[in-house]
Structures are given as C-alpha cells and as structure tokens.
C-alpha cells in the first residue's frame, strides 16, 4: 500500500503548481483557442514530467542506473539536434504564399524594421545578468516565430527552452491584444485613416520558383549559420511553388506539420519540470517576451512614420506593425483596426505583404543572431 501511495506522498508544492500551470495552458488551448496545436501538447507534456518518478523522462534508479524515458529521448533526438524546428520550417515554407510580397516588395522593409524588439530585449536581458547567448535566446521571442525561437534557444540556451517556447507561442496568440494599444499609442487617428492604393502585379511562376532559391543563396552567403534555418523554410516553399510536387507539398503542409507539431509540443512540455520552470527567471523571461513583442510593433510603426517623411504617397503606419512574423494574425489585426477607423479602408493585402515579409525578416534575424553572438 505504501508503494502505491509513494507517488501521492512525493508530490511537492512546486509540482502541484506546475500541474496548475499545465491546466491553464490546456484551458487556453481548448477554451480560448490560443495556439491549441502547441499549447495543448506543451500543457500535457508538463503534466507528464511533473508526476513524481515519471517514467516519461529519464530517472535515476536506486542502483544509480539511468532509466530512459521517451520524452527525454525525444528531446535529445529532436530538440538538441534541432531537427524538430527545422522540419517545422519545411512545413511552414510549404504553407507560405509569397505572392503578396512579390507583388508589393517595398513591404519587405517592414519585415526588417519589426525585428527591432528582438535586439532591444536582448540588450535589456543582459542588464538582468543573462549571458549574451541567453539574452539573445530571450530576445528571439520577439521573432514572433515559434520554430525560430526554439531553434536559436536550442543552440544558445537549452535550459531556457521551456519558458521561451511558452512565451513565444502564448504571445503569438495574444497579438490581437498586444498590438492595438501599442499602435494606438504611436499613431494619430488621421494616420490610422490613411488609405493605401493596392495595384496587384502579376507574378510569374518562374519568379515564384526562383525566389526561394535566391533567398537561400543570399541569406546563406551573408550568414552561413542561417543556411539550415532559411534553407529548410525555402525548401518547403520551393516544393509548394515548383508545381510538380503537389503530393509532397500537401504532405509537408498537413502530415509533416501535424506530426512534428505534436512531437515538438509535448517535447517542449517535457522541459517544464517544476524545479526549473517555477523560478523568478521564468517570470522575467515571460515579461521580457512581452517587451520584445511591444518593441517589435513599435519598431515597425515608427519606421513607417519615418518613411512617410520622405514619401509622397503616405503609408498607413499601422502596416509597419504587421512586419512581425505572427502570420496571419497580425495582418488581420491591422486590417480590422483600419476598418474601425474608416470602414471603407482596406489594408488587408498590404498588411499581408508586410506580414509575409516578417516571416522572412524573423528567420534572417535568427540567422544573424547565430552568426553574430559568440
């Protein structure tokens, strides 16, 4: 009887706290529909590893022998090797349609400007005592791009993977709550009412096929450490656009995406053991993730306002905020805000172009961080 109760009597307060946090993540996924594909497996993974003596993770037996757990194996095989985030990139690449960006390439600039929050947060994190690599991993939450955050953190700060992933995916789903107040604080009503003409240009299939190859080559030459990151993303996109691999494109968008997302989520959840997750560091990282999102948004908006000083045809500065990578959520938020100010203002296509640019910008930012932070 005592053996049967061992699990119950061994629970610590921290583990119970983690079960509550896991419950909150599952609640947000199921009831609020906040990134359910990730938050639910992360939440359940957190339950699995916070049960005393859980066989889901490695345990050291009384005789000192290590009893291997499947989640630790998955972590070693899929996260430490960076395989899971890279496979997700193939899937994401197959899902992205770069046509709006190819039609409206000026929007690429916002994909660059809206990465400012990453670096601002990195600088702030160093003040709090983190090493440069840890600070960069915290800052990359602002990429608003889960796989990039996980990829960089798995190289630079494996010990912070749990809170970084939770923060990245939570804030991505909270974009409709985070961005509007920041945009309103930085723009006037008349700026938010600016209308932008949309003249779509035809994009040839050849251009769509050459684009991913071109991006990989240039980004790879500038930052060779980013080749895996951007290469897998663009490989997925090439499969989509080549027109002769529809079955593979569909498999990447569906089966591969679903399977790896499932394994990635539960494996990230397995890093959320009570002794590591329940700490001041976790709260600090989650708070700094919010700072990163706020300053990304601000970076995009302010950059658009600066551009407007030189442009005859003004850009609605809200479009700058769509330069973060949270696709398509951010584009929708900007379009809705525009419509709220003036129901006849249609900003969606411009915002989508900036949002797609943000996906490229975030991956380049991740690659440059890997190249520059020693």
């Amino acid at each position: 009887m005592q053996e049967l109760l061992l699990g119950l009597t061994s629970f610590t307060i921290k583990q119970i706290g983690m079960l509550l946090i896991a419950g909150v993540l599952i609640y947000l996924a199921v009831k609020k529909d906040y990134e359910p594909a990730l938050l639910l497996p992360i939440g359940f993974g957190a339950i699995l590893v916070n049960i005393p003596f859980s066989a889901a993770i490695d345990q050291i037996a009384a005789n000192g022998e290590v009893q291997h757990g499947p989640l630790t194996m998955l972590f070693n095989a899929g996260i430490l090797t960076e395989l899971f985030p890279l496979l997700i990139f193939v899937a994401v690449g197959a899902m992205i349609d770069f046509t709006p960006l190819l039609q409206n390439p000026i929007m690429l600039l916002f994909g660059a400007a809206a990465q400012f929050g990453i670096f601002f947060t990195m600088a702030v994190a160093t003040l709090f005592g983190y090493s440069l690599k840890e600070a960069a991993s915290i800052g990359i939450i602002g990429a608003a791009d889960g796989p990039t955050s996980i990829y960089v953190a798995s190289q630079f700060a494996k010990e912070l993977l749990g809170p970084i992933s939770v923060a990245a995916y939570s804030y991505m789903s909270l974009v409709p709550i985070i961005q509007p107040p920041v945009i309103r604080a930085l723009t006037t009503k008349s700026e938010r009412k600016i209308k932008m003409e949309y003249k779509p240009q035809a994009v040839s299939r050849t251009a769509k096929v050459i684009f991913p190859i071109m991006v990989t080559l240039i980004a790879g030459i500038v930052a060779p450490t980013s080749v895996a990151l951007i290469g897998f993303l663009m490989f997925g996109n090439l499969i989509r656009e080549c027109g002769v691999l529809n079955k593979l494109s569909n498999a990447a968008q569906n089966e591969l995406a679903n399977l790896v997302t499932l394994l990635l989520g539960i494996t990230i959840g397995s890093t959320m053991t009570a002794d590591k997750f329940l700490s001041a560091d976790t709260l600090l990282i989650i708070a700094m993730g919010l700072v990163a999102f706020i300053f990304d948004t601000a970076g995009g908006v302010v950059f658009a306002k600066v551009l407007n000083i030189f442009l005859k045809r003004k850009i609605n500065p809200m479009i700058g905020a769509a330069g973060i990578s949270a696709f398509p959520m951010s584009a929708r938020v900007i379009h809705k805000m525009g419509q709220k100010e003036d129901p006849s203002n249609f900003l969606l296509m411009h915002a989508v172009s900036a949002n797609v640019a943000g996906q490229i910008g975030s991956v380049i930012a991740g690659g440059l961080i890997l190249a520059l932070v020693k």
Binding site: L108, L109, K158, Q201, A223, K276
Partner: protein, 54 residues
C-alpha cells in the same frame, strides 16, 4: 535536465559590459537585416521584370 544560471549580478559592471556588447550586436544585426532585405527588394523587382509573363 539543465540548470538556469545567470552568470552576472543584475545591473552589475559585468552586466553593463555585456549590455554595451549587445548594442554592438544590435547595430550589426539590424544593419545586416536591412542590407539583406534591400538586396532581396532589388532582386525581386529585377526578377519581376525579367520573368514577366514567363
């Protein structure tokens, strides 16, 4: 699995030293992002012109 260790005391001299390093990284990285993006922009415009209708 791993332990969280902050190597420096918050707001210490070492932290400020890393802060100044991070500003250097920020300037290089933001410049790098804009340069790469500008190259992409130029190439996309060229690509559009060269491949129009193909």
């Amino acid at each position: 699995m791993f332990a969280v260790v902050r190597p420096n005391v918050p707001f210490s001299q070492e932290a400020f030293s890393l802060f100044s390093q991070s500003l250097g990284v920020t300037i290089k990285a933001m410049t790098g992002i804009f340069v790469v993006i500008l190259v992409f922009y130029i190439l996309i415009v060229l690509l559009g012109k060269l491949t129009a209708g193909k």
